[in-house]
């Protein structure tokens, strides 16, 4: 495994499709996402190079790497939000539960109801707290007020924000603090009961206390959801994730158990990065 990753990092001309797919122990959960030979270009910029990664059920996978390494691009490819950028091209394959989501015929809305996303900056809608949570269920056809009430409460409880907002559900979400807004966004995500939650640097705009709360929340959510979290904070990755992938210049340098990555990295560049020599 270690030798494979270092071979890959040297970018051999002929690529063995199996080279980057890491064998997992049989006891691990089912594979939800499997990425094979993913390449992505923004117009002329080659942003992701031969990415091979797979994620399993009910695990937290952290994606770390310096700015501009492609980690955000990669996580946005997982729910195809990356397509909002004009001029994006991809090759390769990402399968979600066995179906290739990069296939043009794949219904992207369907994917996104199963894969929630939390963004770098909290982005609640300029509506009431209640409406923010009810938005997802509503667009998917749930209109019954009683059902919606229940979903709102359950989602807010799930994101550990219910006690703070239960008396002000009809107030504008923008009256909340940044940390609360981010937990509201997580609650909004939970409202449609996704299978996977993608988090794109969810704590980078938050203070340490709010960050801690989000991290605790991730530990709780892990029991029911698969979580893929992009972070530039290595301590955070070490604290909350089961597996860690290290990205550099659009390539996956190393992907392994978080413990292994942080204590005994196979690649010297991983070691340099986690020990703070660059990035």
């Amino acid at each position: 495994m270690m030798s494979q990753s270092s071979v890959k990092s040297k970018r051999p001309v002929k690529i063995n499709p199996e080279a980057g797919s890491f064998k997992e122990p049989e006891t691990a959960g089912k594979v939800v996402y499997d990425t094979k030979e993913l390449n992505l270009w923004y117009s002329e910029t080659h942003a992701l190079k031969d990415v091979n990664l797979s994620f399993r059920e009910k695990e937290v996978t952290a994606i770390i790497g310096p700015s501009g390494c492609g980690k955000s691009t990669y996580i946005k490819t997982l729910n195809r939000m990356v397509e909002l950028v004009p001029g994006v091209r991809t090759t390769g394959e990402i399968t979600y539960k066995g179906k290739n989501i990069l296939d043009r015929s794949f219904k992207v809305e369907e994917l996104r109801t199963k894969v929630g996303m939390v963004f770098q900056k909290p982005n609640p809608f300029p509506k009431s707290i209640y409406e923010n949570i009810a938005y997802g269920p509503k667009i998917h056809g749930i209109r019954n007020k009683k059902v919606l009430d229940e979903i709102v409460e359950r989602s807010l409880r799930g994101a550990y924000i219910w006690d703070e907002v239960k008396d002000r559900l009809n107030e504008n979400a923008y009256g909340l603090s940044g940390g609360q807004q981010q937990r509201l966004c997580i609650a909004r995500c939970l409202a449609i009961e996704p299978e996977v939650i993608l988090m794109d640097e969810p704590t980078s705009a938050l203070d340490p206390k709010s960050t801690l709360r989000i991290e605790e929340l991730v530990q709780e959510l892990k029991k029911e959801y698969s979580i893929i979290i992009v972070t530039h904070n290595m301590q955070q990755a070490a604290r909350i994730s089961d597996k860690t992938a290290f990205f550099l210049n659009g390539e996956v340098i190393e992907f392994n158990e978080t413990n292994t990555i942080f204590t005994n990295p196979a690649d010297s560049r991983t070691e340099d990065y986690i020990s703070g020599r660059f990035g």
Partner: protein
């Protein structure tokens, strides 16, 4: 880098000296620093003073009118015959004409303007937008007299060829053309409001599995609502104040009717007609101008206040 290292040092010394030098001459600029705000205040007062002047003129002359024609007769009268032997001054036909023509205009401009804005801000590619937006602005730059002519010599005959019962001068045709005139205003202002909705909100919605259409109608438009309302109000104000198109294409019959195939007169068109020669200063008909103008003024004022209230009430802050 090493070759330049001497230069900044030399500069630093010079800059220091220059600042010291300038500082000693600061006293003079202190005077301008205090004088300029005063001058700016006087300039800013001009518009306020003008408004006060206009209101004063309108009021004082309208009071003269209401000495001759009782105010309740003016506001409840459905007959307007200013030039008859027994003149009657009921303003309702004019208010009716104004409301109906504005209504027709907004029925045309509202939906088309908003849909254009949605297309431009959410769907159009950069290239299409670059062509379409200037074209819209050309539409906004056409003089209203040209629109009036267009209504009278083109739109009316077209309507009449389909519905022969329509009069040669009618309120429908100028109403439609006024709508066309207002489209760019509503489209452009609504588009600005929608474009300024942060992309993060669209992403939030799309990431929940909403389609683009759902995102547009359930997130973007509500978030831009106060801006859209503002564009509507400006559109209505424009329609209510529009003069040339209705004067040319709607004739000067002072009918009090809801039949849009007939000729009607608006408040503005009445002012044009009367001030076009027949009214000698001091006559009742001359004073009636001011009474109508005052009504028009109050009309737009109420509408603006109402719109401000509505847009504040439905504002989604972000």
């Amino acid at each position: 880098m090493p070759t330049n290292s001497g230069k900044p040092k030399q500069n630093a010394v010079n800059v220091r000296e220059m600042i010291e030098e300038k500082r000693s001459s600061r006293n003079i600029s202190n005077i301008t620093e205090k004088l300029i705000p005063t001058i700016l205040f006087i300039i800013a007062s001009i518009s306020v003073l003008t408004t006060i002047g206009i209101i004063y003129t309108l009021l004082s002359e309208a009071i003269e009118f209401f000495k001759i024609v009782p105010i309740w007769e003016f506001f409840t009268g459905t007959v307007l015959k200013p030039l008859s032997q027994n003149p009657e001054f009921g303003v309702l036909p004019l208010i009716n004409g104004t409301i109906i023509s504005s209504l027709i205009a907004m029925l045309v401009a509202g939906p088309i303007g908003i849909m254009s804005a949605v297309y431009l801000s959410e769907y159009a590619s950069e290239r299409v937008r670059r062509v379409l937006k200037p074209l819209l602005e050309v539409l906004a730059g056409i003089p209203t007299i040209v629109y009036g002519f267009f209504a009278f010599t083109f739109v009316t005959p077209v309507i009449r060829s389909i519905f022969p019962a329509v009069d040669a001068t009618n309120i429908l045709s100028p109403g439609i053309v006024m709508g066309v005139m207002i489209i760019p205003m509503i489209a452009s202002l609504s588009e600005d409001a929608m474009t300024s909705v942060p992309n993060a909100m669209r992403e939030g919605s799309l990431a929940m599995g909403a389609t683009k259409l759902e995102t547009t109608f359930k997130v973007v438009i509500p978030a831009a609502f106060s801006g859209i309302i503002a564009s509507f109000v400006l559109g209505i104000s424009r329609a209510v104040g529009e003069t040339m198109i209705v004067t040319i294409a709607s004739g000067s019959s002072k009918n009090f009717t809801f039949d849009i195939t007939q000729s009607m007169q608006t408040m503005t068109a009445y002012i044009v007609e009367v001030s076009g020669g027949e009214a000698a200063a001091g006559t009742t008909i001359y004073y009636s101008l001011y009474a109508v103008a005052l009504t028009l003024f109050v009309f737009t004022l109420i509408m603006n206040l109402l719109a401000r209230y509505v847009s504040r009430k439905f504002r989604e802050e972000y």
